[in-house]
């Protein structure tokens, strides 16, 4: 495959009006250009993929907590930008299990998480625990079956709030994802990693016979959006 025209009589330059009939072949086809966008889609990552193992029931909600919001857990993780520069949309999937009653799960996704400075010039910006995005869903379990629901974070909500989030990042002096650091010999080359935190809370509206309910799976991933 010839990638240039040096063997010919004319050197072509970027911007020249050559076309498919010209004696220049770069190997870069239309299909490959399309692949470049697909590849960017593929770079969206799974951030949380936790599932209950065996009889372990770590995210259980005791029926005694029926009327309170019960804190299940909090996890921080990095987050990617989409090709347009905005943060990618999250998709959260939570499964629950119980023997009667209603299990309600509240998910809160907030920017940055704990103030966390990693060595090597990679900084996660300081504590900001404002509720950023909250989804809430509930379902009633059967007596013996597993309940599954998908509190997918809607595009509209995310888009409304993400502008605010981006502004916070700028106000905080956070450098663009693309801005390179100035590495020294003992620092890794890296860039700022925007970090989000997910909190899960649950409320179990059980009947008096009391059986605990639990969250059995939590999956969070980035999505490029429809």
């Amino acid at each position: 495959m010839t990638a240039h025209s040096r063997t010919g009589q004319h050197i072509y330059y970027v911007g020249d009006a050559f076309d498919a009939d010209a004696p220049v072949s770069t190997g870069l086809t239309h299909a490959k250009l399309n692949n470049l966008v697909h590849l960017h889609d593929m770079s969206s990552q799974h951030r949380i993929n936790w599932f209950q193992t065996g009889d372990l029931n770590p995210l259980a909600v005791n029926a005694n907590d029926a009327t309170d919001w019960y804190f299940l857990g909090r996890w921080t993780f990095p987050w990617s930008f989409a090709i347009d520069g905005w943060l990618r949309q999250p998709v959260l999937v939570v499964d629950g299990y119980g023997n009667g009653g209603t299990l309600t799960v509240r998910a809160v996704i907030s920017p940055f998480g704990e103030a966390n400075v990693l060595r090597g010039g990679v900084q996660v910006m300081g504590a900001n625990h404002d509720a950023f995005l909250t989804v809430e869903d509930s379902t009633t379990s059967s007596t013996s079956g597993q309940i599954i629901y998908y509190p997918v974070i809607e595009t509209g909500t995310w888009q409304t709030d993400k502008a605010d989030m981006m502004q916070r990042m700028r106000d905080s002096g956070m450098r663009s994802f693309s801005t390179p650091n100035n590495p020294t010999d003992d620092e890794p080359v890296g860039v700022v990693v925007p970090t989000l935190a997910l909190e899960l809370w649950a409320q179990y509206d059980a009947d008096s016979e009391i059986n605990d309910a639990s969250v059995t799976r939590v999956s969070l991933r980035e999505f490029v959006g429809p």
Binding site: A3, H4, S5, I11, Y12, Y13, V14, G15, D19, T26, G27, L28, H30, K32, L36, L39, H40, D41, M42, S43, S44, H46, R47, N49, W50, F51, Q52, T53, L56, P58, G73, W75, F77, P78, S80, I83, D84, G85, V91, D95, N116, L118, G120, V122, Y150, T155, F177, S178, T179, P180, P183, D186, P188, V189, G190, V191, V193, S219, F223, P226
Partner: protein
């Protein structure tokens, strides 16, 4: 810590906020400026991969003790460092120890400890080992709740056949279209895309436990499959494929099998016949690709792809499982 010296051949990764050029099938590929394409390729190559999505561990480390967790995951081939994050439960007393050899201490919790570790730029599915130790003098037991690991992004790439960064200026207007191999001109973009197609992976599921948490079958257990658990995964969408092949791995010891079944239909069984724990790769598992046309990427029927993980002894003797991995392609 690996030193990284900046050279004159490094390529700065630009802001990924790019404008797409319209590309029409059948029309000649033409552009006044190819720099943006180089920018996008560089951005993708620098994006970090989540090596281990946040996974539940729930194992404790006694004072003076040490535990290891085994994972299998892929990198995109350009990251030079990765970050381990370990979440500990509140101990009620001071805990001092190391994570990957780096000191940590805390006395309130839950506490998240992050350490950076250098790595080779492998693009295959690497075996990763996380080691957590607690000092003998610590008055409290450390309980590991969650573990995750992600690659650090690259702010600068080498314009060579390792990183396949593309020099932006070589694609700028009036730059000569030349064939100098990787890192330059439109040909460099072409080569970068070819590499990214091979390297870019999505680590979908990584489960691990310590030697204290082995999910094992004793000699008195039956040889029927036992459910280890299951999780929700989705394959990357690529070229509108309905399914994508995912690598399957398991870390087990004894004579037995680990079976991974996708809700969409495919199933893979990994056989073991070793007296020591080893990573064994099974056949690829076809998992449903997410549908970019639907909110949330659900399948056409509105469901999310799931996998079920099971294991069994094949001779009635002890068979233990310490790790399972699913790596999307």
């Amino acid at each position: 810590m690996t030193a990284f010296v900046k050279s004159s051949h490094e390529v700065t990764i630009p802001n990924p906020k790019e404008t797409h050029y319209p590309v029409y099938a059948g029309a000649p590929v033409r552009g006044k400026d190819w720099q943006r394409m180089a920018d996008v390729a560089n951005s993708i190559a620098g994006i970090p991969v989540q090596r281990v999505p946040v996974t539940y561990i729930d194992q404790q480390v006694s004072a003076g003790g040490s535990v290891t967790l085994e994972f299998r995951s892929a990198s995109q081939g350009t990251a030079t460092h990765r970050v381990w994050t370990v979440q500990f439960q509140a101990p009620g007393a001071a805990v001092v120890g190391t994570v990957q050899g780096e000191d940590f201490s805390y006395n309130t919790g839950p506490a998240e400890i992050s350490v950076i570790e250098s790595q080779t730029r492998g693009s295959s599915s690497d075996a990763l080992t996380l080691t957590v130790t607690v000092d003998a003098a610590s008055p409290a037991v450390a309980r590991i709740l969650f573990v995750s690991c992600y690659d650090l992004p690259r702010g600068e790439l080498q314009a060579d056949t390792t990183d396949y960064g593309v020099a932006q200026t070589s694609c700028a207007r009036h730059a000569a279209i030349i064939d100098q191999g990787a890192g330059e001109s439109v040909r460099g973009v072409d080569q970068a895309i070819a590499q990214l197609e091979t390297r870019l992976r999505r680590n979908m599921l990584q489960w691990s436990t310590t030697t204290n948490g082995i999910l094992g079958l004793s000699a008195t257990d039956s040889t029927t499959f036992q459910e280890l658990g299951g999780s929700i995964v989705l394959a990357p969408s690529f070229e509108a494929a309905a399914t994508r092949a995912a690598e399957t791995w398991a870390y087990a010891s004894g004579n037995g099998e680990v079976r991974i079944s996708a809700l969409s239909g495919d199933s893979v069984t990994i056989a073991f016949a070793s007296g020591s724990y080893t990573w064994t790769q099974g056949s690829d598992l076809d998992v449903a690709a997410e549908n970019l046309a639907n909110t949330g990427g659900t399948n056409p029927d509105g469901t999310q792809e799931q996998v079920l993980i099971e294991y069994r002894s094949t001779d009635g003797n002890t068979f233990g499982v310490r790790g399972v991995s699913l790596i999307g392609g």
